[in-house]
Symmetry: C2
Subunit: 170 residues, 2 copies
């Protein structure tokens, strides 16, 4: 509760580097996906997640949980994918209000088109610049962070410390 008001250089460095690295990586990946398969990053994430599933299908909600994404945005993207014939959407069998999204053969095809380039980008930007030890260290620390972030609901991240706004509009 009595921590210094700012962050020390190491802390700041980790934060800024994380933001910048992920931003640049994502940018590059997005470009590659658009070039190779006309997919947005989110669309690729959805297809890839479906491809991982044993039967190539999943409920909307389960898809949303994996991809940090609003429900309405997911609906929008699923519509686009369906329009292109990459997935099908049918009402769930046991629960009439849920929607089951399923990867089509065309969807698997696009995924196959896009994968090699995707891997090449990740390799070029993330894997190759690091030694094996560094990569393992990175994976370990980030995995730990991911677990701790998942564990705590985002709501309680910064519960206190709120300063009264200075000059809010209106």
């Amino acid at each position: 509760m009595d921590q210094p008001a700012s962050l020390d250089p190491t802390e700041l460095g980790a934060y800024f580097a994380l933001i910048e690295v992920s931003s640049l990586l994502r940018h590059t990946v997005e470009q590659q996906l658009k070039d190779d398969g006309d997919l947005s990053y989110v669309q690729f994430q959805l297809l890839a997640r479906l491809g991982d599933s044993p039967d190539g299908s999943s409920r909307m909600t389960d898809l949303a949980d994996g991809v940090v994404y609003s429900r309405s945005g997911l609906t929008y993207q699923a519509q686009l994918l369906e329009r292109r014939g990459l997935v099908t959407r049918v009402p769930g069998r046991d629960d009439e209000r849920s929607v089951t999204v399923t990867l089509t053969d065309a969807g698997r095809g696009v995924l196959a088109d896009v994968f090699p380039g995707h891997i090449a980008v990740v390799r070029a930007l993330l894997v190759d610049p690091l030694s094996r030890d560094e990569l393992q260290s990175l994976a370990g620390v980030l995995g730990q962070l991911r677990d701790s972030m998942r564990a705590s609901p985002p709501r309680s991240a910064a519960p206190r410390l709120r300063t009264p706004p200075h000059a809010r509009g209106s």
Copy 2:
């Protein structure tokens, strides 16, 4: 040139964890900034960058270079900030076509309002869950990645390996 077609678990783990961690962190920070100062993340980045500058001002282009952002998007956000009185925009002195953006006192005020909560979020999500060694390791590896990414223009990231698209629309 003859690397395996896929990524091994460590490589995949680092990649996925990086994406997920940065995404969650960014989401949480965005929420905090909106709550405490009605700022988007980009707006905060712009204000913070100006705050770092000795005279609190900077050219549009220099701002864009720091924040991964399109020029038109920067113009849009700068307009919003100017409308709220957080920055001023005046034509550059020596080069008539450039625009110098300057932080106002109100801008500094909002920055001050927002900072404590911002630091609290970063601390809670990124710093506190890790040991000092882990944090240093993370900062080191990410810094290395950032440098290597900066060095190579994104264009050449995946120059080869392009598979002919499978079923492109139209």
